[in-house]
């Protein structure tokens, strides 16, 4: 099925890219400006979904799928779950931004600078969307990830992967211990 994709180059790439990027930015802004936490969460979900679509555009369908199933589907549901149990009325009366906004802006500026630097150094003297810039690997994305993780020779992230899952287990146990006084 790879030839089919290469033989049919994606259409209107800039259009979709800018559209999705705009959705993401608007969503992101809404996340921090909405006073109602549920609205924020919904905006965040929109952002995450747009991000998943961007992954698709990068020929990374597996990552896109995982993004949807884990972030938009799983984590955000839990988010909403918790938010609903918070008294919204009280939250709306509280001040939206506190003193840390300066720090926030500084961090955002640093991050933005980093992005710009990386972008300009890697794409110096080139157009933004050169034809065929993305070289579509012959291997499927899913298997590529599997190889990176588990392959006997190329699998360099096996340890990190396992350690991460252990960390998650510890987090789960910790949450149970903290939440339940008597098990």
């Amino acid at each position: 099925m790879n030839p089919s994709l290469t033989s049919n180059p994606p259409v209107a790439t800039p259009f979709f890219f800018y559209g999705l990027a705009a959705i993401m930015i608007i969503g992101g802004i809404l996340v921090i400006t909405r006073k109602n936490a549920v609205h924020s969460a919904l905006a965040l979900i929109t952002t995450l979904l747009a991000q998943a679509a961007l992954y698709l555009m990068l020929y990374a369908p597996f990552v896109a799928g995982v993004q949807i199933i884990l972030y938009a589907g799983g984590i955000m549901v839990l988010f909403l779950f918790v938010i609903m149990l918070i008294s919204i009325e009280r939250a709306e009366k509280e001040r939206q931004f506190n003193k840390q906004w300066l720090v926030g802006i500084a961090a955002a500026a640093v991050l933005g600078g980093l992005f710009i630097t990386v972008y300009t150094t890697t794409t110096k003297g080139r157009v933004l969307f050169p034809e065929g810039r993305t070289s579509y690997v012959d291997m499927q994305n899913t298997q590529g990830i599997a190889n990176l993780l588990f392959d006997q020779h190329a699998g360099t992230y096996m340890f990190a992967f396992e350690i991460a899952s252990l960390l998650l287990l510890v987090a789960i146990i910790g949450a149970v211990v903290m939440a339940k006084k008597r098990i």
């Binding site: 609903m84 149990l85 008294s87 009325e89 009280r90």
Partner: protein, 383 residues
């Protein structure tokens, strides 16, 4: 117009001001709610889904039956009792007629007694069938409802043929019966018995061994025999808690002492036991009906009762085993044609009181199951 009831403060121990506090939730169930079997309002105090306590608000169906009785003659009041527990009208009528008969010191003739027993037991089956259908519906099984209604129809047909009414039958008169059994009454009843026996098995097939049914009913709404007695709970609910007490055996009325039947009891006092007890009771009722049909004597159907009834001064408490428990009538006569005071001891009313005890620390879904298993009829609770 403000309904004074709506202004009544919820008398809950810790009034919860904030909406949606994670700890406690007050939910108002009813009076219009699919699972309250009428206009019952239950105010639930929840911790998540766990019930911390509940309060029943009743009286939406109050018609002042006891007050009406004081303004009617003994005979005129007879149809009113049918409207209390309208799914077991025959039982209500039996209790009332027997109480007045006792006040008059008359006894219905044997033939009338037999027919009374047949009709009352048929009514017990009908009541239990209705209970089963609605109870199963509460727990989410929708199909038994239609099966039980299909079979209950046969009982109602017999009632209709006998006295012209299906629900509020007014089948009995003080002193005996108004109507002789119609031609084919006995064969109809026999046919019904043989018809319904496999049907009861059919209900059980759907539910008794169903895993979900077991999980939903076992250990739910447990009430110990001791608590049940203290709360005055009677009927199948009491028997399911292991108390082998049935007025038909303990203090036989009508001519129940002539019949051979058993009192099914449960052990754990949970919803499942109550279900099983009622299923068994239906079978026992069929046994009684079979014996009664076989033994109907010939003879008069009405005792000698004056046209204008003036029971001598005095008072009497008479109770019968209605499908829902002990149905008592406390009648005070002042010697006139109208009762001075009629007090009805409604089984549903008293049984409903146990709801709070039975639902503590259970989940919301169990409250529904317990309301269903108590087999309340709001017409009787509120009278």
């Amino acid at each position: 117009m403000t309904d004074p009831r709506s202004l009544s403060p919820l008398d809950l121990e810790t009034p919860d001001k904030t909406f949606l506090d994670a700890n406690e939730l007050v939910i108002n169930m009813g009076p219009q709610h699919p699972a309250t079997h009428g206009v019952l309002r239950v105010i639930l105090r929840l911790d998540g889904e766990k019930v911390l306590g509940l309060e029943c608000v009743i009286g939406y169906l109050h018609r002042g039956v006891e007050k009406i009785a004081e303004n009617r003659t003994y005979t005129m009041f007879n149809p009113y009792v049918d409207r209390m527990d309208y799914v077991a009208a025959v039982s209500n009528g039996l209790g009332y007629c027997e109480a007045v008969e006792k006040l008059l010191s008359v006894e219905a003739p044997p033939r009338a007694q037999y027919i009374r027993v047949i009709l009352t037991e048929l009514n017990r089956i009908a009541s239990h069938q209705l209970w089963l259908g609605t109870h199963a519906l509460d727990i989410g099984a929708i199909t038994p409802l239609f099966y039980t209604f299909r079979d209950r129809e046969e009982i109602l047909k017999i009632f209709e043929k006998y006295c012209g009414a299906r629900l509020t039958t007014h089948a009995f008169r003080i002193g005996g019966l108004q109507y002789e059994a119609y031609d084919g009454f006995e064969s109809d009843v026999r046919n019904f018995v043989s018809f319904v026996k496999p049907k009861i098995d059919e209900y059980e097939e759907l539910l008794t061994t169903n895993r979900i049914w077991l999980e939903r009913t076992k250990g739910v709404g447990v009430i110990s025999g001791k608590d049940a007695i203290a709360l005055g709970v009677t009927g199948p609910v009491l028997r399911a808690s292991g108390v082998k007490w049935d007025i038909r055996k303990a203090q036989p009325y009508a001519n129940y002492k002539n019949f051979d039947f058993e009192i099914p009891t449960g052990e754990n006092g949970d919803t499942y036991d109550r279900y099983i007890v009622r299923m068994m009771e239906m079978r026992q009722s069929l046994r009684i009906i079979e014996q009664a049909v076989a033994g109907i004597p010939e003879g008069p159907i009405m005792a000698k009762v004056p046209k204008v009834m003036k029971p001598p001064v005095g008072e009497v408490y008479h109770s019968i085993e209605a499908p829902k428990g002990e149905l008592g009538y406390f009648i005070v006569s002042d010697g006139s044609t109208q009762p001075y005071r009629v007090r009805v001891r409604p089984p549903s009313f008293v049984n409903l009181q146990a709801l709070d005890v039975m639902c503590r620390d259970q989940l919301v879904a169990d409250v529904i199951a317990v309301i269903g298993t108590l087999d309340i009829v709001l017409g009787e609770v509120d009278r």
